[in-house]
Amino acid sequence: MTRHDSPSLVRRILTAAFACLLLAACSSEPEKSKEKSVDNLAFAELETMAAGTTVRLFMYGGMANVNAWIDGYVARELRDRYDITLVRTPMDAPAFVNKLLTEKQAGKKDGSMDLLWINGENFKNAKQAGLLYGPFAARLPNDRMYVNQESAQYDFGYPVNGFEAPYGRAQFVFEYDAARTPSPPDSFAALAVWVKEHPGRFTYPQPPDFTGSAFIRQAFYAVSGGYEKYQQGFDQALFDQNAPKLWAYLNALKPYLWQEGRSYPKDSAALDTLFARGEVDMSMGYHPAHAQAKIIEGSYPETARTFVMKDGSIFNTHFTAIPFNAPNKAGAMVAANFLLSPEAQLSKFEPENWGDFPAIDIAKLPEEWREKFNAVNLGPATLSPQALEAVAVPEIPSEYLEALEKGWEENVLR
């Protein structure tokens, strides 16, 4: 298709255009030589180095209670303990990964972000494109002391290798109103029956939305006999053999969904609104304490409750990571370490703060801390850690996730 000499010419033009862009993009400040390799410093030295600095935390900003916790408790503690100023910038994870990508392509050595709240797809994308600093997790004392290394080894089946430090744990739950629905279904088979008996009263967010995608993954486990066989990386033959069962299941639901399955809510917030206004009878979320937070906030009725399917409920760990060009890596590591401390994890666990489940292993804590964690009152809408643990199943490797989202568009949406 191309003449012999054209590729080089095309490349040259493109490179010139690209160079133009770079000139406009980066008002290249002189590189601060503060970067005297934090790579080999001990943690105590990092703490000294971090004193008096600013850490810029980029994170999803759509949850008011989480924002308040970061701006309040975390910022205050970091200032008092380490003399670190924490600046939170709300940004969706895919957006900051793209920003980093542009900075990397533009050769920008001095970035604007120090710490990221990240996991799953976004971590995989960032790691593959070489956007992350590390490995650093093992350098954090709290990571070494309290984290169950085995459970934080993979992020959606993708090896973590120390390029992110655990931060919290989430698990998938369904939300319902006990006053409207006295006995919700307890398995995906029962859900199919329930949906057919209650046409128009159920739907799920449209994949690739995070929550909608998690819903179809769970259904995939349920209709194809469990999660175990998918954990060894992507197997096309296995996928081709089992995916049609999922399409059949979801297509059977489709005519009985909200709007007869012609439209799906765009994301979990849209579904929450439909549920809160009574257009549908169930919502779902990847945060076990989300319904309780919504009750406290006043948008869900007092009788809102959560349930899990006995076929299994997916859990995942969310993490913090440091960009390759973070200007303050020492401060970022100190902050990441603080977020893993028993104090921060306990404060995060309390439902009035956030209700996010701990990333540290409670069993590894001293007795007094274990008691404190056990004493936390999660509220009536949140299931107990034991009930959640009993059905917890790991996430699917992200190649499957991608294949399921694509397949859903081709086989269910159309």
């Binding site: 298709m1 191309t2 590729p7 095309v10 490349r11 033009i13 493109l14 255009a17 690209f18 133009c20 862009l21 000139l23 406009a24 969706d92 895919p94 957006a95 793209n98 990508l101 392509q105 797809e121 995989k124 994308n125 593959q128 494109a129 128009g200 449209q206 690739p208 939305d209 709007q259 012609r262 439209s263 799906y264 765009k266 439909l274 206004r277 009574g278 257009e279 992200s398 991608e402 989202e405 568009e409 081709e410 949406l413 159309r414």
Partner: protein
């Protein structure tokens, strides 16, 4: 020629950012759609030196074609609706006595509302748990919210068209009214005296006078509805969905390996918009050769 250099230099503050940012972005998007500058240099299939059309091929096997025609339909329907209604209402306002004309400036409300606010208004009014459904329920017209006709998210694009049409209406009235205010009212009096009815007066005098302004506003509204993001973000159907949402999902919510596909979608949208403007300009110039082109 020194004069030319001076002009170029004077243009530079405007031209350089335009060339670097806008054209640079364009070239980069097109290049990425062909597989250059892939964000994943690690993947051999994507770092090919020769251009690859696989991004475009993937688009045409996916949801893109249906989405393209749906977006076209929504944009054409909403722009036509605003232009037609706007022309008529501008004419009505122009015909009002002075005092009423001042009061009629309420038509400017949708002009100052942001698109996202218009989308919320439509959502609050027309959803099945919305204002109209509640009124219908209170009056006993509908029994449960689900019995209220599904105007939004039903696959018909009605919500999108309503939002764009309402948002565009004020814009058309503003432009058309400005043109009409330069129209000599005595022309109409003369036509009336010669026996023209109100319909003839509108179609033969007012409309031709407004035609250029209407054409320009149609094209602006069409292009905005074709590429806009905020209204679809709240009101888009799932299948087929609006192109902007499809592209957003490809770009942000998918694996980086899909980047050529996302860029291909952007490139096609841009090319289409350019072709549309060119086509339109040609038709317009052919229709009235003597008049100034758009």
């Amino acid at each position: 020629m020194p004069a030319k250099t001076t002009i170029l230099l004077r243009l530079a503050p405007l031209a350089i950012p335009f060339l670097a940012v806008f054209c640079g972005g364009l070239v980069l998007a097109a290049a990425q759609s062909l597989g250059y500058f892939s964000p994943l240099p690690a993947l051999p299939a994507l770092s090919a030196d020769a251009p690859t059309l696989s991004g475009y091929a993937a688009l045409f096997h996916g949801l893109f074609p249906a989405s393209f025609f749906f977006t076209l339909y929504v944009a054409l329907a909403s722009a036509s609706l605003s232009t037609a209604l706007g022309a008529f209402m501008a004419y009505l306002v122009w015909g009002l006595p002075g005092g009423f004309r001042a009061a009629a400036t309420i038509y400017k409300i949708p002009l100052i509302l942001p698109h996202i606010a218009v989308a919320f208004i439509i959502l609050i009014l027309f959803s099945q748990s919305g204002f109209l459904a509640s009124v219908g329920h209170a009056l006993g017209l509908v029994e449960t919210p689900a019995d209220f006709p599904a105007l939004l998210y039903s696959g018909s694009g009605l919500g999108l068209i309503a939002a764009y049409a309402y948002k565009g209406l004020g814009f058309v009235i503003l432009l058309a009214y400005a043109v009409l205010s330069r129209l000599d009212r005595r022309l109409i009096a003369a036509a009336r005296m010669l026996g023209a009815g109100p319909f003839i007066v509108f179609t033969r005098i007012a409309l031709p006078h407004m035609a250029q302004a209407l054409g320009a506003s149609f094209i602006i509204l069409f292009l905005y509805a074709f590429g806009g993001f905020d209204i679809p973000y709240l009101l888009s159907e799932s299948n087929p969905g609006m192109l902007s949402i499809l592209t957003y999902n490809l770009y942000f919510n998918r694996d980086l390996a899909n980047r050529p596909e996302a860029m291909a979608a952007l490139t096609i949208m841009l090319l289409f918009s350019a072709v549309f403007v060119a086509l339109y300009a040609r038709i317009a110039s052919r229709m009235k050769n003597t008049e100034r082109k758009l």
